[in-house]
């Protein structure tokens, strides 16, 4: 960890201004990801702006029947919120499938959304990584890749987005509200929050320096049955190998997204339209163009089988 300065922001506007004003400054809320990365000098902020106490923690109904989740609402608060449990079950299930009770008590909605990847080579700071050092190369290619992404990757990065919550938000068509350094708000569709690596794996999201997520808003509940199935090598405290989030309607239609298979929650609307044709059809379309390694090719049949399980459970 490199020495850094620290301030508690007095307001959202002040927080945004403070980070925008100083190159290398970062927001800190729960810190469950940032602090770990600072210890190994993958993150080396010169200045931290603490936003934990800002009034961005509420969870409120929206006029159109949706739900607005403050950026600082903790994972625990969101997962245990009565409306989330009742109307957005996939979100509650995804959140409690992640991390541990202690981490969920600290981790915030916005922080979780932008958690960084879990590629083992991202953490191996003496080896090349295009996310850490743009242009240095990707040590994961040709290395140990079992956990890494199979689709949406590029020759420069095969890191997977390891999140659970984000996969649920993706099928709930959430929108992310931000405030920019000039004070203007904007909304970003959840599908645009996580960028594919392409030629620039180091650019992971479209937020400008100093731009702060203030809320995540869910539209009206989608109805149907809600499912989140997370497959992993042990029953808890592990990132997914593959996860499936689904909202399924009685007529056989629905929405589905896959976690831990791609650099972002992997939802392909054209594939989802094939749900009435069964899991194989969905997965074949959703994983078109996949470039798995020998070690992680199993993720594609596993995704199909996990979706089949979810569909079987929905029928039961």
């Amino acid at each position: 960890m490199r020495p850094f300065t620290y301030e508690r922001a007095a307001s959202t506007a002040a927080a945004v201004a403070a980070v925008a004003a100083r190159p290398g400054a970062r927001f800190i809320a729960g810190g469950t990801n940032l602090l770990d990365l600072m210890k190994v000098q993958i993150e080396t902020p010169a200045h931290l702006v603490d936003i934990r106490h800002l009034p961005l923690r509420g969870i409120e109904d929206t006029p159109d029947g949706g739900l607005r989740i403050g950026a600082l609402a903790t994972n625990t608060e969101v997962a245990s919120h009565p409306r989330v449990k009742r109307d957005y079950g996939v979100l509650a299930r995804a959140i409690v499938a992640g991390a541990t009770g202690q981490l969920r008590n600290k981790a915030t909605t916005a922080g979780n959304l932008l958690q960084r990847n879990r590629c083992p080579y991202f953490y191996e700071t003496t080896l090349p990584c295009n996310k850490r050092q743009p242009g240095s190369g990707c040590a994961a290619l040709g290395g140990v890749t079992r956990s890494l992404a199979v689709v949406g990757t590029s020759p420069h990065c095969i890191a997977q987005n390891p999140g659970d919550m984000a996969v649920a938000l993706r099928i709930l068509d959430a929108t992310v509200e931000t405030v920019r350094p000039d004070g203007s708000p904007r909304t970003i569709a959840i599908g645009d929050v996580h960028l594919l690596p392409g030629d620039n794996p180091e650019i992971e999201h479209p937020l400008a320096p100093g731009e702060l997520i203030t809320a995540v808003t869910l539209p009206r509940p989608p109805g149907g049955t809600h499912h989140y199935h997370k497959v992993r090598d042990r029953a808890s405290y592990a990132f997914a190998i593959v996860s499936v989030a689904a909202v399924l309607q009685k007529d056989g239609t629905g929405r589905v997204a896959f976690g831990s298979v791609a650099p972002r929650p992997w939802r392909v609307e054209a594939a989802e339209a094939l749900l009435p044709h069964g899991p194989a059809a969905v997965v074949t379309t959703a994983f078109q163009g996949a470039t798995p390694t020998a070690e992680n090719a199993f993720k594609i049949p596993l995704a199909a089988r996990t979706l089949a399980l979810v569909l079987a459970e929905a029928r039961a």
Binding site: M1, R2, P3, K39, Q41, R118, P120, Y121, E124, T126, L127, G142, G143, V144, R146, H229, V231, D233, R234, A235, S236, Y237, A238, I241, G278, P279, A280, F298, P301, L302, A304, R305, T306, A308, L309, L311, A312, E313
Partner: protein
């Protein structure tokens, strides 16, 4: 006290305190944070400096240059020790590796520098500034690829066996056998994953060193450290009163101890060094992976006529071999046998002891092979093992087992587990989306005898203190020592104070190889026997027929308070147990029958343990509560070995990439249901005056194979390549959808 004839009736047989389920006497200190570990000895050392270890980032080659100028200029830095400025330290006990010094790099994350600073954070930050140049050589780190270069090797811990251990005519018997099996099994590299990392606080005073460290065997560490520093062992005081787990990783000294001592000397003040968690897998030791070929020949009625077990292993040149064939020497009878091991050179962290070395990985293979053989024969797996029990050492039939009740383990276990409900045809049992399977395996682990000493002191207030350099690595040593002393002296447990892990105390067996409890208690038994004689003499009794009970000393109609013996002053006694050659006439070992029920999701291949049972035959159980904890912990480790634990080798760079507890997965609570343990009651008078045997490792032996066999029974998919992760099942599971 020399133990050279089987124990007769003695005071321990009363079992008024020994054998009872006492809770840990150190339990309150553990859960209130008042049992400090080596890195937390704020009571002993104020204002220490902090060391941060820099690990090599090549696996093999030489360090050509270390530029630490920026480190030395960084805030708070007190000193930088580089490997180029030190001579290579001689390897310690049970290891071939030098821990620091010299230019040669033999494995990734080998310690090449220590940054010492005023704070931990300053040391860590400054360490990032070091620049090291290497001359790297090609690495050998793929066991399968190097296997053809492996050479025959003897067993370090059983040097009496020839490199190829032949009995009868194995080849002819196998060729003639009507039913045969020839399969190859692999086990991966594993890391110990103990909660407390290797950690040391070191302080010098007038050329004498005191270290507070995490050591399973105090004397081994102390001697190794003195040797590495080039000082006399008498000039090293080592304290290790509390240890947060070891599983074999702390049997031998690691670089934290040496570097803390060097760092403290360099900066002229106490220094603390922990092996950073991400360093442990590659800097510490591992359980070395194996490739095991097992060949069995049997008659149609299930009698084994031939057993062949060949294990290929990889390790640093000169290092030892994981003796996976060890259990096969003694677990089953068969007149024709061929057991052998070979060793290939690998440039990975040194393979060395990990809980039940040899037996654990050996049984992972052999006990799948037995399951496969049972199926080929159409014989129940429990019955096949019963049919092949042996009561003698197959190599020396005149050498009997002292106590061997494997058959009782198997029959009691089968009954209690409801084994009869198992369907022998795989894939026959279902629960909704889950395929259910039951599996079992036999377990075997040797009982090792080590000299062990203790000192006891009866104070004038009637309290008894016990001092020995025995360790408690979380196992319950404090508690059973207090029970043993209380039993011997006729005192309540809370009248006994136990002090452990200090090199100033008499040398004990230490903790490892499941030899700690039986030997350390026997050493204490010896010391208490001596103390009883002193008490009897002071009170005017004939030592032979005196009974110590209820705080009284009695013989015939005369009864005197024990405290009367110390009216004139405290009494101290010190003794140790040593062993004759009873093990030449008797095989001493522990036995287990392991049962598991596993559910496999027919869609995803996810595996969940539903229940497990271990029936254990390990001599007298000294405390059923702490013994049970040992066994369920070991069974949990068996679940890890079966389903998830594996160090992943980056074959280009020669290191384990999943070198933290996030990447190297061990079971969590959610993976482990209620585990059932039954202890058979067969005290072993050949083992020691305690009539106890090892209990810390037998619970692991066979556990992983029981799980593996249950997965097979659930699915019909035989995985011979541990761990059994779901990707190895997927393409053979029933069709989904």
């Amino acid at each position: 006290m020399k133990f050279d004839t089987p124990a007769g009736q003695n005071s321990i047989d009363r079992m008024r305190i020994v054998g009872r389920p006492f809770r840990r006497v150190d339990g309150v200190r553990k859960v209130t944070g008042t049992a400090p570990y080596a890195y937390e000895r704020h009571d002993a050392v104020t204002d220490p400096a902090y060391g941060w270890i820099v690990g090599a980032t090549i696996a093999r080659g030489r360090v050509t240059r270390i530029d630490a100028a920026a480190v030395r200029a960084a805030p708070g830095v007190l000193a930088v020790l580089t490997t180029l400025e030190h001579d290579a330290a001689p390897p310690g006990f049970r290891t071939t590796l030098h821990l620091f010094g010299g230019a040669e790099v033999r494995h990734y994350h080998q310690a090449v520098a220590l940054v010492v600073a005023k704070t931990f954070e300053e040391a860590r930050a400054a360490a990032h500034l070091v620049r090291i140049d290497y001359d790297a050589e090609p690495v050998r780190c793929d066991l399968a690829a190097e296997a053809h270069k492996a050479v025959p090797v003897a067993d370090r811990d059983s040097p009496d066996y020839p490199e190829v251990d032949r009995i009868g005519d194995f080849a002819a018997a196998l060729a003639a056998a009507p039913v045969t099996l020839d399969e190859t099994y692999t086990t991966p590299d594993q890391t110990h994953g103990m909660m407390e990392p290797h950690a040391t606080t070191a302080a010098w005073h007038d050329g004498q060193l005191t270290i507070w460290t995490s050591a399973q065997v105090v004397s081994w560490h102390r001697n190794s450290l003195a040797q590495a520093l080039g000082i006399a062992r008498e000039d090293v005081r080592l304290e290790a009163p509390f240890i947060g787990g070891g599983f074999g990783s702390k049997l031998i000294m690691r670089s934290d101890a040496l570097l803390a001592a060097l760092g403290a000397r360099a900066v002229g003040r106490p220094c603390k060094v922990a092996l950073q968690r991400p360093l442990i897998a590659n800097n510490g030791t591992r359980r070395a992976g194996t490739i095991q070929r097992i060949r069995l020949g049997a008659t149609h009625d299930g009698r084994l006529t031939a057993i062949g077990h060949h294990s290929v292993n990889g390790n640093l040149p000169g290092a030892y071999t994981e003796a996976a064939i060890a259990p096969t020497r003694l677990i089953y009878g068969a007149p024709n046998r061929e057991l052998s091991m070979t060793l290939a050179a690998l440039d990975l962290a040194e393979g060395n002891d990990m809980r039940a070395p040899g037996e654990a990985p050996g049984l992972m293979a052999l006990e799948i092979a037995m399951d496969e053989m049972a199926e080929k024969l159409g014989i129940d797996p429990v019955a096949l093992r019963i049919r092949n029990d042996t009561q003698v050492d197959p190599r020396k039939p005149q050498r009997r087992f002292s106590e061997r009740h494997l058959i009782e383990c198997l029959t009691v276990g089968a009954e209690r587990f409801g084994w009869a409900r198992r369907h022998p045809v795989p894939g026959s049992m279902r629960d909704d989306h889950w395929l259910l399977g039951m599996g079992m395996a036999a377990g075997f682990r040797q009982n090792l005898l080590m000299p062990s000493g203790a000192r006891v002191r009866l104070e004038q207030d009637g309290r008894l203190s016990v001092e020995t350099d025995m360790t408690d690595i979380g196992t319950g040593s404090y508690t059973i020592l207090a029970q043993t002393a209380a039993e011997m002296m006729g005192l309540p447990v809370d009248a006994v104070t136990v002090r452990l892990g200090d090199s100033a105390y008499p040398e004990a067996a230490g903790s490892g190889g499941q030899f700690g409890a039986n030997n350390a208690m026997s050493g204490l038994y010896a010391a208490c026997t001596t103390l009883r004689a002193s008490v009897a003499a002071r009170l005017g009794f004939n030592a032979e027929d005196v009974e110590f009970a209820g705080g009284m000393v009695k013989a015939g109609s005369r009864s005197v308070p024990l405290r009367d013996a110390v009216e004139a002053g405290p009494l101290t006694a010190e003794d140790r147990i040593t062993y004759g050659d009873l093990d030449k006439d008797f095989v001493q070992a522990t036995f287990a029958a392991q049962f598991a029920e596993v559910a496999v999701n027919r869609f995803t291949g996810e595996m969940r343990i539903r229940r497990m049972l271990a029936v254990i035959d390990a001599g007298r159980v000294l405390n059923p509560l702490t013994a049970r904890s040992q066994v369920i912990g070991a069974m949990t480790m068996g679940v890890g070995a079966a389903l998830m634990e594996a160090l992943a080798v980056d074959k280009r760079h020669g290191f384990f990439i999943n070198h933290d507890l996030g990447g190297y997965e061990v079971p969590v609570h959610a993976d482990i249901p209620h585990l059932d343990v039954v202890f058979l009651d067969h005290p072993d008078p050949v083992s020691s005056p305690m009539k106890a045997k090892g209990i810390g490792e037998i619970g692991l032996c066979g556990a992983a194979a029981a799980v593996a066999n249950a997965v097979y029974n659930a699915t019909g998919i035989r995985v011979r390549d541990y761990p059994i992760t779901l990707d190895k099942l997927l393409d053979r599971l029933p069709r989904a959808a």
